[in-house]
Structure formats: C-alpha cells, structure tokens
C-alpha cells in the first residue's frame, strides 16, 4: 500500500476521491497546500505531511516543490504535478473585487463584474439589472472568452509538463458542455478525466481512460450561473440566472442576486468608490455602460 498525499486547492477533495477509486489499495491523504506559507515554521509543518509518503500529488509550482522537498528529511516522495483547472469562458462576468480601503477581497470572493461596476457608480438594482443583456455582454467581450480560456488552460498543462496530455484532457471535457461550476471550480467529471490522466504517471495504463468512476462532486456547493445569453452564444443548454453561492445561499433572478450583493458590500462597509474589480479593464465597462445609465463618459 502506498501513501499518496494530495495537495491541491479546492479541487483536492475531488482529486482524492478519484484517486481512491483508481487506487483502492492506496492510502490517499488530502492535504491542501497552504500557499503562500505564512512562515518558515508553517512550511516545515507542512513538510511533515510528506515524511515517509510515497507519492505527492501537488498543485505547487516547481519552485515551491523544491523548497518543500528540501524540508522533507525521511523518505522523500515522488512528485506528480497536477494543474488547477480554471476556465472562464462560461462565466466571464465572474470577477474578484477588493476594498481599496483595506486591500482585502470582498467577503464572498465571487462577484459579478457588472454588479461591482454598478455599485461603484451608485446605481440602483433596477438600473443595474437592465445592464445584464446580450448587447452589453457582446461589447464587454463576454462572448469571446473561449480562446483565452483554452489558451490559459493549455499553458497550465504545459507548465506542469502535461502538454502532451492537453488534447486528451480538453477535447474530451469540452464535449460535455458547460463543464465548470465557476471559473475555478470544475465539475467532477472534469476532475475524473484529469486524475485518470495523471494516474497514468502513477502506475495505471491507458485503459484507465475507459474506466467508469463514480464519485461525489465536492464542488457543486457553489455554482455561478451560465447566463442564458452566454449559453445561447455557446449553443449550450442550462442557461439561467440562478446563483448558488453555497447550498443555503441561492438567489433566483438578477434582482435578488443584486440585492444580496449590494447589501453585502454595504454591510462590509465598502464605500462605493473603494470597490474595485480585479483583473478587469474598468475603462471598458465605463465606455460600454456609462451612456446607458446617464453617466458622463
């Protein structure tokens, strides 16, 4: 029996479950990577998990692997690298945002970029809800995120020395429709495919790709909606405006979601002018949306 330690992000549980199904005789130990390490002690503490472990399946970048392995004194494990799956094309409105006053991310990390922009410009719920439409999505580039998302994922595979496996992974999952719950939460069948591929570096042969694996989806607790207009553009079923932020926090319809979001920003004492979307070109939102709500360009 081997001891396999799995250190990924929120995909850790799914990876473990699939590995357990593929290697039932092995001990599979989830051990999410607390990266970046808060201190050297923290890193040493983490390295203890790898003592006398046979395989370390890890999301860690190459440099981090080296530094952690240097801290493992006994029985260094073999390393199998696994990329985190991220794909934004189904959810291009999902963004991270921060409070400029504190530098902190919003309490609930996922935000609608349009909602963030609207809160910043003190729009009310009705005016904001009207901004969720096909024309705006098109002009904001929401219909054109596919190529960028594929390129990002391909790059991730390449940087994890899995370039030759990318087609085997992606061409399979892209046939399954909207395969992400959110930009960084893949559906379980995506993780199944990914783990089957890396399992071939852990002793399984190519026949594993045909094996039926049934495990629970640990990430379906948070589901960002595939907006109907985007579903239409990608010729996919399942479009909706139902936000499932957690199993007990579900919002049907744009207005209900906006009401929650705006209230949450107020509760967190984020002044409108301090709410900033991350990794988005705010000027583009200004150009596209301002004329529609009577704001000067």
């Amino acid at each position: 029996m081997r001891k396999v330690v799995v250190s990924s992000n929120c995909q850790t549980a799914g990876i473990c479950a699939v590995l357990k199904a593929l290697f039932p005789a092995d001990e599979i130990v989830p051990c999410p990577l607390p990266w970046p390490f808060a201190s050297d002690d923290n890193a040493k503490q983490f390295a203890l998990n790898l003592q006398n472990c046979d395989v370390w399946v890890t999301i860690a970048p190459a440099g981090v692997i080296d530094s952690v392995m240097a801290l493992v004194s006994d029985g260094k494990p073999s390393v199998v690298r696994v990329p985190a799956i991220g794909f934004a094309a189904f959810h291009p409105d999902l963004c991270y945002a921060q409070n400029l006053a504190t530098g902190e991310l919003t309490a609930y990390h996922y935000n609608s970029a349009i909602a963030v922009w609207a809160y910043k410009h003190r729009l009310d719920i009705e005016d904001t809800a009207r901004l969720f439409n096909r024309a705006n999505f098109r002009r904001l580039g929401y219909f054109d995120a596919w190529a960028t998302s594929v390129a990002y994922l391909k790059q991730a595979f390449e940087s994890y020395q899995l370039a030759s496996d990318f087609d085997r992974f992606f061409l399979n999952v892209q046939r399954t429709g909207a395969f992400m719950h959110s930009i960084n939460h893949p559906k379980i069948h995506v993780l199944v495919r990914l783990v089957k591929i890396i399992s071939m570096r852990m002793g399984r042969d190519a026949s594993v790709l045909e094996k039926s694996v049934d495990v629970d989806d640990a990430l379906c607790g948070t589901v960002w909606p595939l907006y109907p207009e985007i579903a239409h553009e990608l010729a996919l079923g399942g479009g909706s405006y139902t936000w499932k932020l957690n199993p007990l926090l579900v919002f049907e319809g744009i207005r209900n979601y906006l009401e929650y979001s705006f209230k949450a920003y107020v509760t967190q004492e984020i002044a409108p002018e301090n709410l900033q979307m991350l990794h988005r070109e705010e000027a583009l939102f200004d150009t596209v949306l301002k004329p529609q709500v009577g704001l000067p360009a």
């Binding site: 934004a88 504190t102 309490a107 219909f143 429709g177 990430l219 010729a235 007990l248 990794h279 070109e281």
Partner: protein
C-alpha cells in the same frame, strides 16, 4: 518543404476548424462573402426546416418578402394558423425540387395538374398544400379561387425576390401517373384517396434532383435575371420511408443525394450558392445536442447556431459595428483570476464534504452569544480580527445563518 496544403486557410484543417472552435461557433460557411445586403428582398421555400429560417429572417431586420398576406382584420394568431407568413407565399412545405419546379410552372401557367381538389370529410383540400387551410375549403370552387390568388402571389415571389433561400428536404415523393404532378404528402394521408392505379411512389436520384435544380434556376433566371438562390439541405431526417429498408438508410440516401445535387448546381451557376445548415446540425462538433429527444426535431440551440452562422457569414446589417479588438481587450484579465486560490472556507467545504449544514432557526441579536459564536467558528474569529466583519453577529447576519453555522 513546400506542399499543396502549406498555405491553406485554417478552415481547411480539421483541428483548427472543428475541435478548436468554441461550442456553437463551428462555421462551415467559411469563406462565404456577406452577399445578402440591406434592402435585399429574401424569400424562403422548401421543407419544414425552411420554416425556422423564415421565422428568424422575419425577425432579423432583414427584408423578408411576403407576397401573400392575410386579409385585413384577420387576427395574427389565426393568420399564422392559416399559414400566412410561414413562407413568402402560402405554398406550405415544398419537400422536393420537382415540386418546386411544378409550383413555378403552375404560377406561370405552364402546368395545369389534372388533380385540383381532394375531398376530406365534407370539405375540399388542395392536393399540393393539403394542410394550408386547417379547416379545409368549403367547396371546390372556393379552393379554386384561392389557388388563383395564391399562384399570383407565388409569381410575385419569383419576380420580386433578390434571394430565394431554398431548403432541400426529400427525394421521396408521390406523384400522379396521369401527368407527373408531385404531391407533398401521399394521397389519402391528409385528404383524397390513395389509388395505386393513379398514384405512384418515386425516389429521385441525385442526377434527377440536379436536373430539377437546373430547371428551377433557369426558369427563375428567365423571369428575374438578378435573383440569386441559396440552397441548403434540411437536417431533419425522414419521418418515414416507403422504401423497404430502414428509415435511417433512406434518410442518409436522401440527404446525400440532395447534397450532391446542390454541389453540382452551385459549381455550375454563378448565382447559386450553398449554405451548410445540414452540416452545422449534424457536425460531430455539435455532439448530437442539436437533435431533440425524438432524435429528429432540431433543437432551438441548433437552429440558433445555424442562424448565427447565416447572419454573420451571409448577411450584412446596416448597424454592424462590432469590434473584435474591443472584445479581446475585455477578456485579457480573465486568466489572472485563476491565480487567486480559493479561500479556506471553500477548501474546507470541499475536503470535508459538501453536505448542507442543517438548517436552523434564526437567532435574534439579543439571544446571540458573540463570544461563543467566534469560539465555535474560528475562521469567523480570524475574519473579524482581520476586520473583514465588524463582529460575529455581523458575519452571522450576512452569511452564518444561511450557512448553518453553529451558534451554540
């Protein structure tokens, strides 16, 4: 090393044209020019799939030509039921090319079929558009009057159109032994009586279809030299075959024959083009999701893909201003979001299972034990310490209650 494929376009290579495209964006119409311009009058004719095209063109802002309009005062719903506006004239589904040629000839008095009316119960039915008037015509005379009106409108379709979009549906048909008149539906199905002495089955060959297409094109060219024809093949399989073989075999034959004929005619005439409806719907990239559960009807997703390609590849709209560079600019930041690792709550939730915490009744603020809440929920305590929340109560009100957090 140079070779004949070295400088070909992306759409000529399977990986770039098929597997690399976003879902819903495989475009077999490339490299078609945008030839349908603002102001062009567009008519549709053909099998049932042509109704989808007609519906979308009608609502697209393009100039959809309808020469046979409902009488004034008729309720729009009733008009639709009576098949006004379903096609450019009220000819119903025209499944075979031979039927279209004969329709043309009837419109220009070059063909007068012997069969003019079928009986169905107490009413009369047009043998060449048996479903056009849901309640039938009250008398053969009323039907004859309507046919005269109708054929005048058909004439106008052919004379006025800048474009005729012709959806090729079937090769199988029933015809009159007397004069070769083609019926859209077998006699006896929607009216009339099937008589093997008078009626016979025919399954046109690809060569016959091509010859009929040439005949149709030539006739149209005579009355309207500037008109162009856009051929497309319906992806809807046969509902039934009269051939003694599996319906799927007959379907594949029929579609193949129509496709071959269309290709031959497009290569022959400068004013005839092909639009790949059939290819879009049946493409492996569509993964069968463009067929409904009956494996025959086309889903709205599929129709939308066809129309998206049609409008973007074939049509020029007056307000076309989309800027790809702006769109690209908008998504440059998307990849960076992936670098943000999930917060601890999400990781814990994923590792420890996704079972929903038991729902619990809301606690009022006066009953809320702040210290106990922070003790039971150390991640909240950390968040409060980091000033993400003003207090435990603040967190509980915002998230904790719905998350089913322990309060005591």
């Amino acid at each position: 090393m140079s070779h004949p494929y070295a400088k070909l376009e992306d759409y000529q290579f399977w990986p770039k044209a098929m597997t690399a495209s976003a879902p819903g964006h495989v475009n077999p119409a490339l490299p078609m020019q945008k030839m349908i311009l603002p102001g062009h009058r567009i008519a549709t004719i053909g099998s049932c799939f042509a109704q989808h095209l007609a519906r979308h063109i009608l609502h697209s802002g393009l100039d959809y030509l309808v020469t046979e309009k409902a009488p004034e005062g008729v309720d729009p719903v009733v008009a639709r039921q009576r098949n006004f506006g379903v096609f450019s004239a009220r000819y119903g589904n025209v499944y075979t090319v031979r039927q279209a040629v004969q329709l043309f000839d009837r419109a220009f008095d070059a063909f007068k079929p012997a069969d003019v009316a079928w009986k169905k119960d107490e009413v009369s039915v047009d043998p060449f558009r048996p479903g056009i008037e849901p309640g039938g015509f009250q008398s053969p005379e009323a039907l004859a009057e309507d046919v005269v009106r109708h054929l005048a409108c058909v004439r106008e379709v052919f004379v006025q159109s800048d474009w005729i979009i012709f959806t090729l549906g079937l090769t199988e048909a029933w015809r009159s032994k007397a004069d070769g008149a083609i019926y859209p539906i077998a006699p006896g199905v929607a009216g009339g009586v099937f008589d093997p002495e008078q009626h016979e089955f025919v399954n046109f060959t690809a060569g016959e279809v091509a010859a009929d297409l040439c005949a149709f094109r030539d006739r149209l060219h005579q009355v309207n030299p500037n008109a162009k024809i856009m051929l497309t093949v319906s992806p809807v399989p046969l509902a039934a075959t009269y051939e003694n073989r599996h319906v799927w075999l007959s379907t594949t034959y029929s579609k193949a024959a129509l496709r071959v004929a269309a290709d031959e005619v497009v290569r022959k005439f400068e004013n005839v083009f092909y639009f790949p409806s059939y290819e879009i719907i049946t493409s492996p990239a569509a993964g069968n999701r463009y067929y409904d559960d009956d494996l025959r009807s086309i889903t709205e997703l599929g129709v939308n893909h066809v129309m998206r390609v049609f409008f973007r590849s074939c049509c020029q709209f007056p307000d076309e201003q989309e800027s790809a560079s702006v769109a690209q600019h908008a998504i440059d930041g998307l990849g960076k979001d992936m670098e943000i690792v999930c917060d601890e709550d999400m990781i814990a939730q994923a590792v420890h299972g996704n079972a929903s915490p038991a729902s619990q009744p809301a606690v009022k603020q006066e009953d809320f034990d702040e210290a106990l809440y922070l003790q039971l929920n150390p991640d909240v305590a950390k968040a409060v310490e980091a000033k993400k929340f003003k207090s435990g109560w603040h967190h509980y009100e915002l998230h904790g209650r719905r998350e089913g957090r322990r309060v005591g």
